[in-house]
């Protein structure tokens, strides 16, 4: 079987969804002949033609809004926002319309659309090209928010997102678009959109994370292994709806929780996970819940960007600090 990057996995999932279901359309800026600025839609225009893949004018509000219109008519649009920094213009459409059409009409009109965007920092990109605004979307009732952290999960989750009868925001950690490869079985089933993935079982401390930070979490786990600390790593994958049970079960066993995300600390999605455990797993906790997150600052331009990005080193520190409690 061929080996594929996360970026290729996205492309393969789009390809398969488009082949298997002619209702699937792709639209966005430069998604056509250019194949997207990261090449996520590479070759789709050539393979499926101008009736399935559209380069839109430069206008994010109507990209999201037209996708909503298409979705109500039985299409399954997959709209790309070029970088998450430009997704804010879609929030009004997503919160006021996409997430509500079904509810507003008691199920008469529905909105099976996917809003894809590369997100996160660490690639020395210009301003606005490194955003992690997943928490804003995770607060919106009626939406699903999905973030893959590996090629296989990107493949299976994107298939599921496209097949889902409701709107899904699908955020791709661009820092690991090409970081590593995995085998992808292009006949595999979609992955569930309501499950966290335990990607490394462990005994002593639970590290919960998503996106590009997942790699850092695994690295951190490997580092502290030498110190006889056995880390369980959970990739949240679907932030909304949150699979609280898997996280709670893990923390109940380990008694220690570290949450790692790239977005700024305050009101980041890590807070939600901490709050759930502080309600339902409080008496199993041996140590304070630690969050490793971006600072509450604007993402610095590339020269100082590395001082913003949380890494394995910070996660290691947090793991050690919670291990100090016995």
């Amino acid at each position: 079987m061929p080996e594929h990057t996360l970026l290729e996995a996205v492309n393969l999932a789009l390809r398969r969804a488009m082949s298997e279901d002619e209702r699937v359309l792709v639209l966005g800026e430069d998604v056509g002949i250019d194949g997207g600025v990261f090449r996520a839609t590479d070759g789709l225009y050539q393979a499926f033609g101008a009736q399935r893949v559209f380069d839109t004018p430069l206008a994010e509000t109507v990209i999201a809004g037209a996708a909503i219109g298409l979705a109500t008519q039985g299409f399954r649009p997959v709209a790309e926002i070029q970088f998450m920094g430009f997704i804010y213009s879609t929030i009004d459409q997503m919160v006021n319309h996409a997430s509500r059409l079904r509810n507003r009409t008691r199920g008469r009109l529905t909105c099976p659309m996917v809003l894809r965007a590369p997100f996160g920092g660490g690639i020395r990109a210009p301003e606005h090209h490194s955003e992690s605004a997943e928490a804003m979307f995770a607060h919106i009732p009626g939406l699903r928010v999905v973030i893959p952290s590996s090629p296989t999960r990107a493949y299976g989750l994107l298939l599921a997102a496209i097949a889902d009868p409701d709107p899904v925001v699908f955020l791709e950690p661009k820092r690991i678009y090409r970081a590593f490869k995995e085998d992808i079985d292009t006949s595999s089933a979609p992955l569930p959109l309501d499950r966290c993935f335990v990607t490394r079982p462990g005994r002593d401390v639970t590290v919960v994370t998503w996106g590009a930070m997942h790699v850092e979490a695994l690295d951190a786990a490997a580092i502290v292994e030498d110190e006889d600390i056995d880390v369980e790593v959970i990739d949240v994958a679907t932030l909304k709806p949150l699979d609280e049970a898997t996280i709670l079960e893990s923390v109940t066993r380990t008694g220690r929780l570290v949450i790692a995300h790239e977005a700024p600390l305050t009101a980041g999605f890590g807070a939600e996970i901490a709050a759930r455990i502080a309600e339902k797993g409080l008496f199993d906790l041996k140590a304070p819940i630690r969050r490793v997150a971006g600072w509450d600052t604007v993402m610095p331009l590339p020269k100082l960007e590395r001082l913003y990005m949380p890494t394995a080193a910070q996660i290691v520190n947090a793991i050690r600090s919670v291990m100090a409690y016995q």
Binding site: V62, G65, T72
Partner: protein, 363 residues
């Protein structure tokens, strides 16, 4: 997506299409469609709309309906649009097109339910493809473009109609939707329901554009103005635009010149910001009086018919209001049951909790 050679700027001369003068006199020969039956039908629809409107205000005043946006004086726009559309076209309305909705088959009970604060009012039994009311100003315009794209992709001879107010023309969402419709030559007709006010902001403070129909220029398609208090004119202009849209000739913008005779909504007091004189002047342009004068002068409408019509409309509206008031409330758990096709397990506890809470509250 392809592009298309744009219309020439010549298309943008300002002429306002009118058939009926304010006194009901004919300004030009009637269009072919305007049979006696059609004209009396249009009039009847407008009267029903106005009857509904008055009842809605009355129900609101007595605490039995939520905040309501009256369409008093704008009935010709709604009815003209609704009657110009084919059943399988899709209406993407704002919140002041009750007339269009009624004509499209939305029931009086559904309208009361919606304005009464019940989501079931947007689950239209008949107008199943029409969009619900858009409370966000302009946010629905992109949907109309998307719907039209769906028709185009499927090669269907259908069109969407997006209606919004003069205020909405200032929103970037509307502009983006028009621009997309222009460049992709989508089968959508944009209709500005220009009632001269956006709450307290008059038309002239909304934009320096000479006409709101000029907003089409930047999107590369044609626009025109029509007398929005002349239901025959509205019907004619929108019918032609729809015919062109359905036959692949792309979008069009119609500015209906009309006037909001009432307050912005039942929560508003228009005397804070506009002259009674202006309102009085516009009453002279009343679309219903105009049509009635026309039909009377043509000898096809009698006092008896008028009385019978008013009675029939009142009866229909009263019956609908009673049915609305008598309808059992939606189940508490319904606030979860239409959020997703299948409620995620993560929300089952909340669904149970709201049912429990409803019981406690009732107890």
């Amino acid at each position: 997506m392809g592009y298309w050679p744009p219309w020439s700027l010549q298309a943008f001369e300002l002429t306002v299409t009118t058939y009926l003068g304010a006194d009901g006199s004919l300004q030009q020969p009637l269009p072919a469609f305007a049979s006696v039956e059609m004209r009396t039908g249009l009039y009847q629809d407008m009267v029903l709309t106005r009857t509904f409107d008055a009842k809605a205000i009355a129900l609101q005043r007595t605490g039995r309906l939520g905040t309501y946006a009256s369409c008093l004086g704008q009935e010709a726009v709604g009815v003209g649009i609704g009657r110009a559309m084919q059943p399988d076209d899709v209406l993407v309305p704002s919140f002041r097109e009750h007339g269009a909705q009624l004509v499209r088959g939305v029931t009086l009970i559904e309208l009361f339910a919606f304005w009464g604060g019940d989501e079931r009012g947007s689950n239209f039994a008949v107008a199943q493809h029409d969009f619900p009311v858009s409370i966000t100003v302009g946010g629905h315009a992109p949907h109309a473009a998307g719907v039209a794209l769906a028709f185009k992709l499927r090669g269907q001879a259908r069109a969407s109609v997006c209606v919004y107010g003069d205020g909405a023309t200032s929103k970037g969402d509307v502009y983006e939707a028009m621009n997309l419709a222009g460049v992709w030559r989508l089968p959508v007709v944009f209709v500005v329901n220009n009632n001269q006010w956006a709450i307290s902001t008059p038309r002239k403070e909304q934009t320096a554009a000479i006409a709101l129909s000029d907003k089409a220029v930047g999107a590369g398609f044609s626009g025109e103005q029509v007398d929005g208090n002349d239901v025959i004119a509205v019907h004619t202009v929108i019918s032609s635009a729809l015919d062109r849209a359905r036959s692949g000739q792309g979008p069009h913008l119609v500015e209906c010149l009309t006037y909001r005779l009432g307050d912005h909504t039942t929560a508003d007091d228009a005397r804070r910001y506009r002259d009674d004189g202006e309102v009085t002047r516009w009453w002279q342009q009343d679309p219903l009086a105009r049509m009635r004068a026309h039909l009377t002068s043509e000898g096809v409408w009698s006092r008896d018919q008028e009385e019978a019509l008013l009675k029939a409309c009142a009866a229909k509206v009263e019956a609908a209001a009673e049915a609305y008031l008598a309808a059992p409330p939606a189940a508490p758990e319904s606030i979860f049951d239409h959020l997703f096709a299948r409620l995620p397990d993560a929300l089952l506890d909340q669904r149970t909790a709201v049912m429990e809470r409803a019981e406690t509250d009732d107890a």
